[in-house]
């Protein structure tokens, strides 16, 4: 095996790259991968996922197989959740922490069999996750295999995704009928006779399915899903719409809301860490001790108008100023105090108003002070709102 440190990911392309080129996609670098950012209109792609369906290539994601008699116990030790408690075919969102309680990555773990788990990590954290898992094996009887290069991953998301998945030609032997497949469960199937894993999972806030397929069959699966989706208005969708969709759904993105400097509880992910499970796990002592007093916490913010707070913008308060005061005149402005930082923000395509997630000093939240986002020199009043910003109607 090549030393991970010696393998920087640059200009990697997905097995579906040519399809995207032919489809007129524009590309962006994402963790060293050239991935579609949009196929023309990110707004149209966003709305399609909310109203009909979109198909995403997310083959940059990393797939890691954990296999062996101790697989469940090993993951209970290596990850923050109690993975041994999930049933075969069930999926679970989890975190890989470092000993200091910081987040190395957020993951989705599928249990494929009693002794076999499939760990899906972010592209940019592939080697960090593989290295951390390998290091934590110790005396556990388990094998950790990085299968990322063997797999492509296609997501079909949106209210019509189930009908599209059911109609796709070539998908057979579906163990659990898709009508009965529950959210965060998976089923095995075949595509043209090849193994296919279908999860009812996603990152858009809509119903949806994710298809794990061997890389050399991905283009044919994409075509089968696209053909089936034509009658429903399925459109190919890129990373730009994926980002606004997940933001509306209040889902964190590693590198924005999550990082090694943030504790799960700060990100609102305290529930993902299972402190009741038996035995030690990496990060347990640090999580039990908690982050230092006054650590910033993740909140949802909305603002009026159309100008969105963006990642990196400051969240400020203006001590002594009443929230009803007009915007202070330049030169007479009371000194503002920075109390936080925006981690993601956009004009919400679904809601029509700016939304943002931000880490904010809890004392500023408790005091009820009016918060503002400093949008390139203009203070825009922000309201703290519960996440998610958008929740689909469950039929």
């Amino acid at each position: 095996m090549t030393d991970p440190e010696q393998r920087p990911e640059t200009d990697r392309t997905s097995p579906l790259h040519q399809i995207h080129v032919d489809g007129g996609a524009s590309f962006t670098d994402f963790a060293g991968w050239q991935m579609p950012v949009s196929y023309g209109s990110d707004l149209a792609e966003h709305h399609a996922v909310r109203t009909t369906a979109g198909i995403f290539d997310i083959s940059h994601m990393a797939e890691i197989l954990v296999d062996g008699p101790d697989a469940g116990a090993f993951l209970d030790y290596a990850l923050a959740g109690r993975l041994s408690a999930i049933a075969t075919a069930q999926a679970k969102y989890s975190l890989l922490l470092n000993p200091e309680g910081g987040i190395v990555d957020d993951l989705v773990v599928y249990r494929l069999a009693d002794d076999t788990f499939f760990v899906v990590a972010n592209a940019g954290n592939r080697y960090a996750v593989v290295a951390a898992l390998a290091e934590r094996v110790g005396t556990f009887d388990v094998l950790v295999s990085d299968l990322s290069d063997d797999y492509a991953l296609i997501a079909v998301q949106g209210p019509d995704s189930r009908e599209i998945a059911k109609a796709a030609a070539g998908i057979t032997e579906v163990s659990v009928p898709l009508d009965e497949l529950r959210y965060y469960w998976s089923t095995d199937a075949l595509f043209e006779g090849l193994p296919l894993l279908i999860g009812r999972t996603g990152y858009t806030g809509e119903d949806g399915f994710e298809f794990y397929i061997q890389a050399d069959a991905a283009a044919r699966l994409w075509a089968a899903l696209t053909d089936a989706g034509q009658a429903f208005g399925l459109v190919p969708a890129g990373l730009a719409s994926r980002d606004t969709l997940r933001l509306e759904a209040g889902m964190p993105l590693y590198g924005h809301e999550l990082g090694v400097d943030s504790f799960p509880v700060q990100a609102g992910l305290g529930r993902v860490v299972n402190l009741n499970k038996e035995g030690d796990f990496v990060g347990r002592a640090a999580v039990e001790a908690g982050p230092r007093e006054g650590s910033h916490v993740l909140v949802g913010l909305t603002t009026e108008g159309k100008r969105a707070g963006r990642a990196g913008y400051s969240v400020v308060t203006v001590p002594g100023a009443d929230s009803t005061l007009p915007e202070p005149v330049e030169g007479q402005a009371p000194t503002s105090v920075t109390v936080g930082t925006v981690t993601s923000g956009a004009l919400s395509p679904t809601l029509g108003r700016p939304i943002a997630m931000a880490y904010v000093d809890p004392s500023a939240l408790e005091s009820g002070s009016q918060l503002y986002i400093d949008v390139r020199g203009t203070r825009i009043a922000a309201s703290v709102v519960d996440l998610p910003f958008y929740k689909r109607d469950k039929k």
Binding site: V37, S38, D42, A240, K306, R310, A346
Partner: protein
Amino acid sequence: MTDQTSLKYTAEHEWVLVEGETATVGITAYAADKLGDVVYVDLPKAGAVVSGGAIVGEIESTKSVGELFAPLDGTIVESNADVDADPSLVNSDPFGAGWLIKVNFTALPTLLSFDEYSALIAE
């Protein structure tokens, strides 16, 4: 349809149409594609005095913010109210209905030709 070969360009991806003492300014299709769907524009008001190279407006897409630079010294004659109402014009017709500002300029600086700009974005 505007003849793109007759326009002047800046390295900041603006196009400039010179007619008498008035310059009409917009962003190029290349810039609009890079930005993604434009959802908000903040343009200078008529009467505002601008100087070449200064930031005079903003063009926001869902994913990022682009700055509008004044390509030349002068006074804003008009900003495009249609784009203000429907920012998607910047994507659908960047060289036409998606124009942004008209500037009554005092001096015409050296701008890029179509060929020079084409070479720039081909890099």
